[in-house]
Amino acid sequence: MTLVSGWGRFPVVDSEVLRPRSFGAVGEAVVAGSVARGNGRAYGDAAIGVARTIGMTGFDRIRSFDPATGCIRLEAGVLLSDLIDSFGPRGFLPFVVPGTRFVSVGGAIAADVHGKNHHGEGGFGRYVDSILLRTGQGETLEISREQNSDAFFATVGGMGLTGVVLEATMRLRHVETGWIREHVISASDLDAAMRALEAGDSATYSVAWIDCVARGNDLGRSLIYLGEHARADELADGADRFPLGKTPGLAVPVDLPSMTLNRLSIRAFNELYYRMGARRAGRDHVVSLYPYFFPLDGIADWNRIYGRRGFLQHQCVIPQADARAVLADILDRVSRRGDASFLAVLKKLGHGDGLLSFPLPGYTLALDFPVRGDILNFLDEIDRIVVAAGGRIYLAKDARQSRATFEAGYGALSRFNAIRKSLDPAGNIRSKLSQRLFDEV
């Protein structure tokens, strides 16, 4: 057995890790209590098998690519970084990328990850045409919106619980350049931030970095980043059409003592960040896609900033109607507590596609907290507010929500469970997350 954890390094649990080398060996690797794992960027316990964790990053081949349509067939272990590096220079990018490029295609499907364009263009699964799935029962199925559609909509966003994603066919977006034309707006409080995001609805990409230590009149002050793919004629003379993504140069070498993150250092950092951003506000400028989409990828192992005990990310979505009041309540509690992350992320989401897909029309707020003190109780308190507002918590980030919170948030659970049961009657596919949140006890 090996000690395994997600990106947040909480919880750390025992699971046997296997890395099969062929699809046949994947099939043989599935025993009672198995789940597939991509590049381990889920924050909590989603990609840890109850008994066995099946590492899929070795399956990293592109099977075919059609430059006329952008249609690509690939193995589940291909990382989005790999896809961007190989196909970006040829004018193609994934339609949807999350905040890190170091996720696998299989993981991106299982979490139906969203990006800064979810409000207009939807999630990762929307651009997946079909999936080759190895079910817990031992069948290998090609699933799509037309063929085995129940299995398809349970697999997109299904956290790997319908089986192991082996391959997928998806569409890439044609782009002229690897640059983003960025427009920064500074918002002095939550109302201004939400107005700016509403006004930015027509932008392809929009996201707000919110200062969650700011209080009183400053509560919710943020920088809103709108973005469009830059055309070739918008680049400076001599600029590369496609800038290369650097492998992270900066790395966090050791686990920082948890003292490093305190009220003062966070407050100072956020003050600086806000002022630097505000200086850039108003004007359009062109930035490489890497810092625009993946601001934290520049620092390897940034999860170590939170110290040995790890950290928790709390990402909720609040339906549109009550979002203003509910977000203000949450932010007020967080700012009074004072130990949340440097920067929180606020953005608008649209409709989700999969049965367990996280997005719903409204606002999502993501916050990081170091694991210490009474944080679990505090997050339970936030969860109650989320549930009362008809919201839910993102499974790919979750390590601690309660069954009650989960069941209240995900209305399609019973439908999902019925499909899962039909694909895997013996219940072989089980993760620590499913065990914690919804497997029959």
């Binding site: 592109i62 099977r63 190989s86």
Partner: protein, 246 residues
């Protein structure tokens, strides 16, 4: 007709072989992948074609079947610009100490086969007046260690062969590269205890091979740290060395 350069990777299904093939394909080379099961290499060839828009083919090649080597080289539609042997077998030292057949397989896989096939290509390259031969050897060949001297001695022989070949053919326009990767996270080393700061991932080796070919480097220690480590290990007096456990 294409004017692209071409590389032939012997041992193309290994992790280092795949990494080297990707590095060369990304640099615009057409790629041949050779291994015992050509059909099993086809997905990797398809991957290279789709990713980099180059030509990629697969070939059947068994390093233990030395009798087939002449025919294998003659059967290629064109002589490649670069040939890389990544073939090797770590084996199990403890078994090799008493099982002659196992020891023989290790020796033949790491020395006899790779040397003979690269020697054959070098002759063809010499006749043409150009070409690069790359042998992936090992730091284990720098000094025999108690824990893996069957493998190490075969790699030592391979390194010596490449060194001599280099001296002979370099004036004829043919370049010979010896690669000593050190610890690499691959299928071969899965489950072994590797020293973190001395260990690299396969793509690092692939890039190092491409760099050595393009810059005409003779001997490459993939991680520079290994050059120092092996210098120390090589200079230890035998009387001291034999008392060490590693």
């Amino acid at each position: 007709m294409t004017s692209r350069m071409s590389v032939l990777v012997l041992g193309g299904s290994s992790d280092i072989g795949r990494a080297a093939a990707r590095a060369f394909a990304e640099a615009g080379y057409d790629v041949g992948l050779a291994g015992r099961d050509a059909a099993a290499l086809e997905p990797d060839a398809a991957d290279l074609r789709a990713r980099y828009g180059i030509e990629a083919n697969t070939w059947t090649f068994d390093v233990l079947d030395t009798a087939s080597f002449e025919g294998f080289v003659a059967g290629l539609p064109a002589l490649p610009d670069v040939v890389i042997s990544i073939v090797g077998l770590l084996g199990v030292q403890q078994n090799a100490e008493s099982d002659l057949a196992h020891a023989t397989t290790i020796m033949r896989s790491n020395y006899e086969g790779p040397s003979l096939i690269l020697g054959l290509f070098a002759e063809r390259f010499l006749a043409r007046g150009s070409g690069t031969v790359v042998g992936v050897s090992s730091v284990a060949g720098d000094r025999g260690r108690a824990s893996n001297y069957v493998y190490g001695s075969a790699k030592a022989g391979f390194s010596a062969f490449l060194s001599g070949l280099r001296a002979r053919v370099s004036r004829g326009g043919v370049h010979v590269v010896t690669v000593k990767p050190g610890f690499v996270r691959t299928r071969m080393t899965e489950g072994m205890k590797l020293i973190g700061p001395l260990t690299v991932d396969a793509p690092v080796v692939g890039d190092a091979i491409l760099n050595a070919v393009e810059k005409k480097v003779d001997v490459v220690y993939v991680s520079g740290k290994w050059r120092l480590v092996m210098l120390i290990i090589k200079t230890l007096p035998e009387a001291v060395f034999k008392k060490l456990k590693f």
